[in-house]
Subunit: 263 residues, 2 copies
């Protein structure tokens, strides 16, 4: 399938901006300029994209088709103050910020939220990343749909309310799981065991839910109602009250789920 | 490297027993018999291993070298009552049960704990599974070491105390993470969004910690101290008090970790 190609200004030079621009460039779009208030970050990204860059909002190129704001949630409103683009398309990449925050910048606004965790240096396969898109009019939606489909096979139309719910669910599945890994690592350290020992288990845990629902794949002392093991675990955590609280709360929640399932 | 091969009786016919026997057979050991109190489970596993089976403890074959008890933690003590094997090797595969529970069954006892989550039908690559071994004498240790190395490249000598700590850490990294997936799925359901949308994110989250510590890879509103997003998330969870409690507790724990890191 052939897609239209667009001239794009990227606003931001962090992890999302970097990975998204690399994918867009690969799909033959033209990144005309990188803007970031941090001159050196803008310069580094612009160099890898072989394009112009600026850290002066008044120097943002006004000849592009699409302006992608990929900055921290709190900074979006600051950026919008500087953008008066009238009939260009202005979009942001955030999971939790309402589309309408962009209204002062243009009459054509939208959201392009790639549901993934990005690092600057870890290459990601954009083709399998779900992209949630939304726009304030049909013409803008068609452009975003074409842009998104040029980089990913998993494009979905998602409104602002749904997107916020997806972002919340992602906090549980990504940020909170990662923190549980950190707790596991801390617990192992107390027994002088390397965190490496858990890595195959962590990988398999994430793979198991590919073809089964996580409620079906639940294992462990809580789902077996194995009180002996749970009380021995709580005893082992007696010096770490926060972990004990978490252990209790998550175990109770597992037991609740299993009761609901049986009903 | 050449390994000795052994004659083995497997006690239990669940997920661990099944996957372990398949790996042992592949490494040229002989499974002489499957024992399970559930005749049909014993029969199914024995059929796939092409060996004898029984559900009568008094009929357990006494001619093997090694007896592997791979049953639920609570059932180990029941099984031990029936085993009087004097100079055979008797081991269990549990993460949380002390080795000495096996003492009545033989003078040669040990533990063979494969740190992985198993399903009966999901094939696993045993070579990369960490196996924690322990024995009550050197001769038994040597046999277990040889047995473990014949199926896995990641064999570690781990004492009972360390093993219990590893098991506790695994509960956080595996059982509790899986439950967070279930919560995420439940949250998405309320917005009519399929859990599939989170799968690439979940996979990437588990991959990120392969080369970085989970403390380094932490992202999300809590680590950024993004109070606006956190309070909006808590508001969205107002109908689900348990999720709200969990959100609060895990977020606080993430903030604590980041403070400790900065110190």
């Amino acid at each position: 399938m052939e897609f239209s190609t667009y001239k794009i200004v990227i606003i931001g030079a962090g992890n999302v901006a970097t990975q998204l621009c690399l994918a867009l460039k690969k799909s033959k779009h033209t990144i005309v300029q990188v803007y970031s208030k941090h001159k050196s970050s803008a310069g580094i990204l612009a160099k890898s994209l072989k394009c112009d860059f600026t850290n002066q909002p008044e120097n943002i190129d006004t000849s592009a088709d699409i302006y992608i704001i990929a900055v921290n949630d709190d900074s979006i409103i600051e950026v919008v103050k500087h953008l008066r683009l009238i009939d260009k398309i202005v979009i942001h990449t955030s999971g939790s910020v309402d589309m309408n925050i962009l209204a002062p910048s243009s009459k054509n606004i939208g959201v392009f939220y790639p549901l993934q965790t990005f690092s600057k240096n870890n290459k990601v396969n954009f083709k399998i990343i779900p992209i949630c898109i939304e726009a304030n009019n049909n013409a803008t939606f068609r452009v975003l749909n074409s842009l998104a489909k040029s980089v990913s096979n998993k494009v979905q139309k998602i409104n602002s309310e749904q997107r916020k719910t997806i972002h919340l669910a992602a906090v549980f599945a990504n940020n909170f799981c990662n923190h549980l890994y950190a707790i596991a690592s801390d617990i192992l350290e107390s027994a002088n065991v390397s965190f490496d020992i858990l890595k195959p288990l962590i990988e398999e845990t994430s793979k198991k839910i590919k073809n089964s629902s996580p409620v079906e794949t639940q294992t462990g002392p809580a789902i077996r109602d194995d009180k002996k093991t749970m009380s021995s675990h709580l005893k082992m955590l007696s010096q770490k009250k926060k972990y004990q609280q978490l252990y209790n709360l998550i175990s109770k929640s597992i037991i609740d789920f299993s009761k609901k399932k049986k009903q």
